[in-house]
């Protein structure tokens, strides 16, 4: 930043850190450009029952693809012995590449009829 006089040791240190950051950013982005095949977003959804809730589940949505998914809409059916007893819908604004979002869903008034949660549909946009 100061340039008229000989740089101080602090300025030298900041310059080398800055150079490292700058080269790192450029290197990282060049690597991304050549390694990224721009495959579409690939979402996987996992359910796990919450032990503390009678009809509660943790839903984990993961994007394995190489493109961010936008405006994700997930519809899940609650079933008892293969019979649908409820439905729930969740929205996520964005799910970046190699990222996960966790949701908690809870069904009310099911009288304990909730042995499984099944993914019905996943809809998303490509930004």
């Amino acid at each position: 930043m100061g340039t008229q006089e000989k740089p101080s040791s602090l300025e030298n240190a900041v310059f080398y850190v800055g150079l490292l950051v700058f080269m790192g950013l450029v290197g990282y982005l060049v690597f991304q450009i050549f390694s990224n095949d721009a495959l579409p977003a690939d979402l996987t959804v996992h359910f796990e029952r919450l032990p503390e809730e009678e009809c509660g589940f943790e839903v984990r949505v993961f994007n394995k693809g190489e493109t961010t998914a936008e405006a994700i809409d997930i519809v899940m059916d609650l079933e008892q012995s293969g019979e649908k007893v409820g439905e729930i819908e969740a929205q996520i604004d964005y799910l970046p590449i190699q990222s996960e979002r966790r949701l908690r869903v809870k069904f009310e008034n099911t009288n304990g009829r909730c042995d499984s949660l099944v993914l019905s549909s996943v809809v998303f946009m490509e930004p």
Binding site: K6, P7, G18, L25, V30, D93
Partner: protein, 281 residues
């Protein structure tokens, strides 16, 4: 040799300047999203263009007269480094970054915001200090053969682009620009264009702002100056819209509407912002 305390003061000034200009961006949701929706090609372009802008600003508007091109390059690298660290810390502080996120998400968010913070740091370092020189000598050592008028014109262009970038960046990524663009009638858009031009003319020629044109109000010069400044602001507006993907899939009419809407902050930056960037010293 400069003392470390002097350098520390300059860095402090730079970081404060960076935050003054870029805090609205750090707090804007669309900017966080842009970090992981933009392809790496655009992010790289962002880094390169920002570096070139920093070179231009530091060369033509820096407070030091006897700098070499190497000094300007070095200064610009320092500013990007400081901006990256400051942005990373700030985004972490407001909970927009955490270590459970993927590297691409963290890097994208930080890179998008870093570039505006870096320009803010450059402006803050040069303008918030008290020890500045004048704005004439910046490029003497680098381009000794250039005429004064040429240098003045290039300085005006660089400052106008920097001013436009600083004013357009906080709003360009937001959905509001698209909504205003879509919902504005042709009459409203026409008034926006006229208002933009009027703002530029008043700011540059009749405002008595420090650094504005005083006395010399030649009509042709006024027209050419205003047209140049407005073209710069429209161009910067279009580049930002393209960068954030707000031109994809829209008709030419909607793109033009958005450019006109963004042109208002753009021309304020290119005229008033430019005078501010230059005249504080």
């Amino acid at each position: 040799m400069r003392s470390s305390s002097q350098s520390l003061k300059e860095y402090g000034r730079g970081i404060i300047g960076g935050l003054i200009f870029s805090l609205p961006i750090i707090y804007t949701m669309e900017m966080w999203w842009a970090g992981f929706t933009l392809p790496p090609e655009k992010l790289l372009l962002n880094v390169v263009v920002t570096y070139l802008l920093l070179l231009g600003y530091n060369n033509f508007c820096g407070i030091h007269h006897d700098h070499t091109f190497w000094d300007v390059c070095r200064e610009s690298v320092e500013e990007i480094g400081i901006a990256f660290l400051a942005t990373f810390l700030f985004l972490w502080l407001i909970g927009r970054l955490d270590l459970s996120m993927s590297i691409s998400e963290m890097a994208g968010k930080t890179i998008v915001e870093t570039m505006i913070v870096a320009i803010g740091i450059s402006v803050g370092t040069e303008q918030l200090g008290t020890g500045g020189g004048n704005d004439q000598g910046g490029s003497e050592a680098v381009n000794p053969g250039k005429s004064h008028q040429d240098r003045e014109f290039i300085t005006m262009l660089v400052l106008s682009v920097c001013g436009s970038v600083l004013f357009i960046a906080p709003v360009a990524a937001t959905e509001e620009i698209l909504i205003i663009g879509i919902e504005s009638s042709n009459v409203q858009l026409l008034i926006m264009v006229l208002l933009s031009v009027l703002l530029a003319v008043v700011t540059i020629f009749f405002s008595d702002f420090r650094g504005s044109v005083d006395g010399d109000r030649d009509f042709l010069k006024m027209v050419s100056h205003t047209v140049t400044v407005y073209l710069i602001s429209l161009l910067v507006a279009f580049v930002f819209l393209w960068f954030y993907g707000n031109t994809n899939g829209f008709s030419a009419q909607i793109i033009i509407s958005q450019v006109i809407v963004l042109g208002i902050p753009g021309i304020l930056g290119a005229s008033a912002g430019r005078l501010l960037l230059r005249s504080i010293k």
